[in-house]
């Protein structure tokens, strides 16, 4: 309704609030010069490669294994994050206990802590001589310098995404449904899986999707713990950096291009989940 009125106004070209031109100018100029123009050069550079060259670079065994490592580890990490993020959000929203506020603040630590610092700290923690790594080493499990280590680093950077996506939805959730379920004789587990979970699944998916996207692109925290063993623990972003260091710009561009397409597709999916969610919530 409101939107319609504004649209009519718009058609006549009447804008009551001043500053439209200025804001539009500033926004487009800055967006263009800082984001779009640089981004265009990646498409521009890729277009200079022939299809054959592009194919050769992207399907070389090292690059393919890089994509595989990045995708698999990010996927496992987002699964772990989905489970623990759900538990954390639940605990933070539903329970009251001493230290809840501190815990809530702590969730954002991976956002604030520089990734390089997280990277070297995690490597130290999980290397064979580290506090936790030595415990696992006794059992014969190596964590640092294996895909498991990469996954742990990705869990670290991804956890706030899931918690912060699920938390507000859980807070807003009308408890009448749970009460109704309980009154109708549903057990707690049944209520959770059949009443609460369906309501938060979109948010959970969006959060896990963001964590997944972040994991694929993550470099700083992963590169130390990965150990960068060719064909085993080289992640795709690392391959880009390596090619750049060898001044193989076209190779780096091609690898980046594929990664970029993948990220955009993922974002599109997440956005459509969110749009669906909004529509769903409105009824």
């Amino acid at each position: 309704m409101e939107q319609q009125i504004v649209k009519v106004k718009n058609r006549k070209g009447v804008r009551v609030i001043p500053g439209y031109g200025l804001c539009m100018g500033v926004t487009l100029t800055m967006l263009g010069s800082f984001i779009l123009l640089p981004l265009c050069s990646i498409f521009f550079s890729t277009s200079r490669l022939s299809v054959q060259e592009f194919k050769e670079i992207v399907t070389s065994p090292q690059v393919v294994s890089g994509y595989k490592v990045s995708l698999c580890c990010a996927f496992c990490a987002s699964l772990v994050n989905g489970v623990f993020g759900m538990i954390l959000a639940w605990v933070l929203v539903r329970y009251d206990f001493p230290g809840r506020r501190a815990m809530d603040g702590l969730i954002e630590l991976p956002f604030a802590l520089p990734t390089a610092v997280a990277g070297i700290a995690l490597t130290y923690l999980y290397s064979d001589k580290g506090w936790l790594g030595s415990l696992f080493a006794k059992m014969g499990i190596k964590i640092a310098y294996t895909p498991v280590g990469i996954t742990i680093a990705m869990v670290f950077v991804g956890i706030p995404f899931v918690v912060r996506a699920v938390q507000p939805v859980l807070e807003k959730l009308d408890r009448q449904y749970e009460e109704a379920a309980a009154m109708l004789g549903a057990g707690r587990a049944y209520t959770f899986f059949h009443v609460i979970l369906p309501e938060i699944v979109p948010a959970l998916l969006a959060g896990a999707g963001l964590a997944f996207a972040r994991g694929i692109g993550e470099y700083g925290s992963v590169v130390f713990i990965a150990g960068n063993i060719p064909y085993k623990t080289q992640i795709a972003p690392l391959l880009i950096v390596m090619k750049l260091e060898q001044y193989k710009y076209s190779d780096a561009t091609a690898i980046a291009f594929v990664l970029l397409i993948f990220s955009f597709t993922l974002m599109l999916l997440i956005n459509s989940v969110q749009i669906y969610m909004q529509r769903f919530n409105k009824g």
Partner: protein
């Protein structure tokens, strides 16, 4: 009055009926059994302890392993201080650009209707979905020697890649959406009526912004600036690609940490890290205080 009513109910009803009735009166009283509650809190504490707190402890212990004196020496190292200064510079520029852009873009998208709003909003979000390494790469492809702007820059003697401007540009790129993301929802909810009324009564653009829009968004703005600052401080991937790792020139503090670590100078690496950790913790604390303020203002929890 309702309280009295509850009491009479509870006193009147006894036996099996009591429990279900209590549920009606106060449905959240026995939220989950105590065992489940303790177990879930336990899992959460354990998870956060291992994933988030232990790494911080590692940094602290390793930074101080060689004693206080060595720690001080490591922190006051010439290159560490230079790196710290560059990090602050990059943070400053990122926050400045972010604030101007964030306010302008959020104002534009929340106060005016025009075709393509969604497109602009989606474009602003791009840096969120891009690997920081790619963010660095695009600047090399644009401004580097091989890039299409490279020749022009070279002939004018401007150096962007492997120099401080490149570091700043990369930092701006990765932090770009932060302030906008915080401001837009707040401004959108606030609507346009107040600004329209003010404009109709003859207020100028600046007055409207200062007297009407700004008071609504000041906490959200501060919040966005804090997030942007935190990200700018910690950016590694993008800066690493574009900086060229010139010690004392284009090394930010996170890059300096990497170099020290790769030189097996771990005590120094963790000492430099500890500076970043302290900054991160301060940022987190301020963030929480601002959020409390913001929440109270909005009448939130």
């Amino acid at each position: 009055m309702p309280r009295d009513a509850e009491r009479t109910y509870e006193q009147d009803v006894s036996g099996d009926g009591l429990q279900s009735l209590q549920k009606v009166i106060d449905p959240h009283r026995d939220e989950g059994s105590l065992g489940v509650k303790c177990a879930l809190i336990g899992i959460s504490v354990l998870f956060l302890g291992i994933m988030l707190v232990l790494p911080l402890a590692v940094v602290a212990v390793n930074a101080l392993r060689e004693g206080w004196e060595a720690y001080k020496e490591n922190i006051l190292d010439e290159y560490t201080i230079k790196a710290f200064r560059l990090t602050l510079t990059a943070m400053f520029f990122a926050v400045a650009v972010n604030t101007v852009f964030g306010v302008a873009a959020a104002y534009l998208l929340s106060k005016f209707y025009f075709r393509g709003r969604e497109v602009i909003a989606a474009l602003i979000d791009i840096p969120f979905s891009i690997s920081p390494v790619i963010a660095g790469l695009v600047f090399i492809l644009t401004y580097g020697n091989m890039g299409w702007m490279g020749g022009f820059l070279k002939s004018h003697g401007i150096k962007i890649v492997f120099a401080v401007p490149g570091v700043i540009l990369a930092t701006i790129f990765v932090t770009f959406p932060f302030v906008f993301r915080e401001l837009f929802p707040v401004m959108n909810v606030q609507g346009r009526e107040e600004e329209e009324a003010a404009a109709l009564m003859g207020a100028g653009g600046l007055t409207i912004f200062r007297r009407i829009t700004f008071p609504h968004i000041k906490w959200a703005l501060l919040y966005g600036i804090i997030l942007c600052g935190a990200r700018a401080m910690g950016e590694f991937g993008a800066v690493s690609v574009i900086s060229g790792h010139l010690r004392g020139k284009t090394n930010t503090l996170p890059l300096h940490v990497e170099i020290l670590y790769n030189e097996f100078n771990t005590a120094a690496a963790f000492a430099a890290s500890s500076v970043l950790v302290v900054m991160a913790v301060i940022i987190l604390i301020i963030r929480n205080l601002v959020e409390m303020k913001k929440g109270r203002k909005a009448g939130g929890r």
